[in-house]
Symmetry: C2
Subunit: 242 residues, 2 copies
């Protein structure tokens, strides 16, 4: 079966990624391990760049599934708890899959600049939508203090509206202030997780979890949402089923 071969290729590529870093992913090594030669792989994959894009898309899907599974493990009505769980699941996946996270969220250093990365972009969009719906829900339920439209500034407003439009949310569904606090929160989560995975404070800090939790707490209280410490959460779900 053709499908199975492609799956095997991607699975071996993925393993080489986590074991030897993105630089250690090579068509020749994959072919060697499969008992065939490198040119044969070109029947399944148009090149190394496309293969990396493909597994990146797969990893976005996997991360989205992981976060969704964690989210689903909480009572559907408890939006606040679900947000805590989803964000912690994101961090947990990131630090247990640093190689994957690096190619997904780091600079696309290996891909050719003219490579077609749309599949990975699509999958990234699907991943983001998980958090969009959670935040949308939160804003709809709770009375989150949102900045008024007048105090946002024209350039920022334009960017936020184009952002919301691309995501597919009208000004009615998502006010500009909501888009602003959403991106602000995402920037902070992104920052603290990147910092941990890229080991940017690695030589001076041993465990970044307290920083993540501190950021989470500051974020939640800033949103008028109660912060739920880890201990009061029950066993967190850290991986997708299957």
């Amino acid at each position: 079966m053709r499908e199975a071969t492609l799956t095997e290729i991607k699975s071996i590529a993925r393993r080489h990624l986590v074991e030897h870093g993105v630089a250690g992913v090579s068509l020749r090594a994959i072919a060697r391990e499969m008992g065939m030669t490198a040119p044969g792989l070109y029947r399944y994959v148009p090149g190394i760049d496309a293969l990396l894009v493909a597994i990146t898309a797969d990893m976005f899907d996997e991360l989205a599934d992981t976060v969704a599974a964690a989210d689903a493990s909480a009572p559907a009505e408890d939006t606040e708890l679900r947000l805590h769980i989803a964000l912690r699941a994101l961090r947990a996946w990131a630090i247990t899959h640093p190689a994957e996270f690096s190619v997904m969220f780091g600079p696309s250093s290996r891909l050719d600049l003219e490579a077609d990365i749309t599949p990975a972009l699509e999958a990234g969009r699907r991943f983001a939508s998980t958090f969009f719906s959670l935040c949308d829900r939160l804003i709809r339920e709770k009375d989150i203090p949102l900045p008024a439209d007048e105090e946002i500034g024209p350039e920022l407003t334009a960017e936020l509206r184009s952002f919301a439009d691309t995501v597919g949310l009208s000004a009615h569904a998502m006010p500009t202030g909501a888009a602003l606090v959403l991106t602000r929160c995402w920037i902070r989560i992104y920052g603290v997780v990147c910092m941990e995975v890229f080991q940017h404070l690695g030589f001076v800090v041993t465990d970044m979890e307290p920083f993540f939790e501190s950021e989470l707490q500051d974020l939640m209280t800033g949103l008028g949402v109660r912060y739920i410490p880890i201990e009061h959460m029950g066993r967190p779900v850290t991986d997708a089923p299957g």
Copy 2:
């Protein structure tokens, strides 16, 4: 002169980095351009990894110089303005040097895991100290609202104290609460700049500057410092002299 040859090697490597990405830096290409052969470079550099580490260290020094020069262009007493200028200089350098920023602040994907990256780490420390002294000055002058020691939590306190110690600041020079707000601010700046340079919102946002400014404003007001918009700043210094 031996020193000059090494400088030329690093300068060509740097140009290849910005023109073709980190994957486009190769000893053979550098040697070709210098009119010699690749093994000859081994008289000056122990290998490609060490060369990348060396130019990374240089780039940290350059960034530190750029930020310091921008900082020095403001009145020494106006700490608030200096902080604005320094942070904007950081962003300006980052977005005008995306390839450099990626190897400095992104995942170290190309370096061998057992490579000796201490020179780059040292230079990164020197870069960070620029901001440490500015923040130290700010905390000393203004009455920044700092979280009390009791409300920080034992794990976080331990990390923060070890952090301050490594940087060389005692509990007297830098209270735990100060270290916390400092790292929190750094996380947010790091997050928004990484997001811009790595083009993480690139398909949905055209200009990240409003987001950076919004983050800067929120950050400053949270610190009890007045936010100074770009227009009220005079011409910003965006690069080092020479």
